[in-house]
């Protein structure tokens, strides 16, 4: 199936599908996430049966502030697609897809670790890469980067986002 055919087929189920740079992206509502992923996985001609990656991006000051991103791959048909969903800043939780794709376990833990997005129904939603007592969610764009005190005559290295870079 070529890209447009795949996008058309997914479009039968998800209204918001777009093709850009050779990639198919479907935008879903939170309530439809699990059903949609199960549908994409179980249709024999779509068969997006492998979850490559789950992550998020943070866009402060706009709504939705978070986009959660699911990268899917089909082994039988050798194509890929992406499912995205937006979350507001104060309501950053989404159903866990671990019942459909057990591999999502660590991906969701990492996304929680970095962005503080809560995956409802995850079996063990704890920090994974950062220490358990870490405070804050470092990959959020509004997270303070912090300056570095140095040993040279009272000099302090300003945070990396304040160093006047391009």
């Amino acid at each position: 199936m070529n890209l447009d055919a795949l996008a058309g087929r997914i479009g039968e189920r998800v209204p918001d599908v777009l093709v850009a740079r050779g990639e198919v992206t479907a935008v879903v509502e939170r309530e439809q996430l699990l059903e949609t992923l199960a549908w994409l996985r179980d249709q024999p001609d779509v068969a997006l049966d492998f979850l490559s990656s789950v992550t998020a991006t943070h866009w402060p000051d706009v709504d939705p502030a978070f986009w959660v991103d699911y990268e899917l791959r089909s082994f039988p048909h050798k194509h890929r697609a992406r499912v995205k969903l937006g979350l507001s800043e104060g309501d950053a939780h989404v159903p866990s897809v671990t019942p459909l794709f057990p591999t999502a376990d660590w991906h969701e833990r990492e996304t929680f670790d970095f962005y503080g997005i809560v995956f409802d129904g995850h079996p063990d939603l704890t920090r994974i890469l950062l220490p358990d007592d870490w405070e804050g969610y470092p990959l959020r764009k509004d997270e303070s980067l912090g300056g570095v005190p140095t040993w040279f005559h009272g000099v302090t290295m300003p945070p990396v986002d304040e160093r006047g870079m391009a």
Binding site: S53, T57, T103, W106, L129, V160, A166
Partner: protein, 430 residues
């Protein structure tokens, strides 16, 4: 039960008998393996619950090598990103560079020149061999085959010298750049690579002679850490570990990138799913990589042309030549920007201070690394720096399958199972 009074006393003295019920205590023991343990490939920590010699539960604990590479890239220019991502999975630096650059190139809507693409394939396939050699060497060492360790690192050293000749560095090369590669192969490059391609098949035969029917090697690996196809797929396992369970999934064949569809090679598959099958698959993959490298080298010699895209807003470094100090800016180029063209000087200045400007958008760029699917989700907001770079590292995902490989087996098999999964913690923790 009066026949063995000594035994009874010893059990009581050791506190192994519950005085209330007069039964032997059935307790499990929890031990920590790592993060500082020679057989954990870096800083992997495993919390193992043991019932005697049998592992009944295993929980991998990671993050000891987290260096914030993804966050760092958000505060560097697009080009500087290459130098960060190459340090993630340090045993396969070229693959990280390649996946990142292919993604950025797709956002920019440009393509590297053909010669650059062929050189990329060549260095990547040689890199796959070095990575598998390190795996062979370390797992050999962990299972007591010290000679294999010495042989593996000996051959890797030969390839590392070639990398040094091509890129100037042994690791973390930052050789593949947005729009091509930094510089062309050195004059002696093809000769060196050709002699390597002649040398290695015999050496791989040597490993096979040593290990294939070696009773100790087979005993330690056969039937150990068996992964079924269903479990592998559900847990997201890719690469040799998946191909050892009977699925010939390889991105170079399935969703080809660069020019892999025009190369002649096989994807080795086994069906047993145990540690031995993973060993056989990796060894066969090294031979296939040699085949690809040979074809790439032939085509490189037939394909003249630039190795960096001819676009002053993307190509960087613009032109290098070998000066008296070994390497440096091309004097012709310097004369051009300083004396001839104001526009060229402006481009040069903007490239040095700001780098590439990448249109807004997002791509997921995936390549087949020695450990499986290495994917980069790259998001741009239209600026001079990446908005988000997410590394889908195969070691990270494959490591999730470790409990499935270890639980129910003996403690001693843990070492063989971890080794056969070949995790690189630099990639796991990023």
């Amino acid at each position: 039960m009066g026949e063995a009074p000594e035994m009874t006393t010893a059990l009581d003295a050791a506190g192994l008998r519950d005085p209330a019920t007069d039964e032997l205590r059935q307790e499990t023991m929890i031990i920590n393996m790592g993060p500082q343990h020679p057989s954990t490939h870096g800083v992997l920590r495993l919390v193992l619950e043991l019932d005697g010699e049998t592992v009944i539960r295993c929980k991998p604990v990671i993050g000891y090598l987290h260096t914030g590479i993804e966050k760092n890239t958000e505060y560097r220019t697009w080009m500087q990103g290459v130098t960060y991502v190459t340090r993630a999975d340090y045993l396969s630096p070229f693959f990280n560079e390649l996946a990142y650059c292919l993604g950025v190139e797709r956002l920019l809507g440009v393509e590297a020149p053909e010669r650059a693409t062929l050189i990329r394939i060549l260095v990547c396939e040689l890199n796959r061999i070095t990575s598998h050699l390190v795996w062979l060497a370390t797992s050999g060492l962990e299972l007591g085959a010290v000679s294999v360790m010495l042989y593996g690192f000996r051959e890797r050293e030969v390839i590392m010298e070639i990398f040094e000749a091509i890129t100037g560095l042994r690791m973390n090369h930052a050789y593949i750049r947005i729009g091509g590669v930094v510089m062309d192969l050195p004059d002696e490059g093809p000769r060196k690579i050709r002699s390597l391609l002649d040398l290695l098949p015999g050496r791989i035969d040597e490993y096979e002679t040593l290990l294939h029917d070696n009773p100790i090697w087979r005993e330690r690996n056969e039937g150990v850490g068996v992964l079924t196809t269903e479990r592998a797929l559900a847990l997201g396992v890719t690469g040799p570990a998946l191909r050892a369970t009977g699925i010939g999934a390889d991105l170079r064949k399935d969703i080809p990138y660069c020019a892999y569809e025009s190369f002649d090679f096989e994807v080795p598959v086994r069906t047993e799913g145990d540690a031995y099958a993973r060993y056989v698959v990796r060894l066969a993959e090294m031979r296939e990589s040699l085949k690809i490298a040979g074809q790439a080298l032939e085509r490189i010699e037939e394909t003249p042309g630039p190795v960096m895209i001819d676009d002053p807003k993307v190509g960087w470094p613009p032109r290098l030549s070998v000066g008296p100090d070994g390497i440096g800016n091309d004097p012709e180029y310097l004369r051009h920007i300083m004396e001839e063209s104001m526009e060229a000087l402006i481009h040069h200045f903007k490239m040095v201070t700001q780098g590439v400007e990448v249109p807004a958008g997002e791509v997921f760029s995936a390549v087949e690394s020695p450990r499986g699917e290495l994917g980069y989700l790259i998001v741009s907001d239209g600026g001079h720096r990446p908005y988000r770079v997410k590394i889908r590292d195969p070691s990270f995902v494959n490591l999730q399958a470790l409990p499935a490989l270890i639980e129910g087996y003996l403690v001693a098999d843990t070492v063989a199972s971890v080794a056969s999964l070949d995790p690189v913690l630099g990639g796991v923790d990023r």
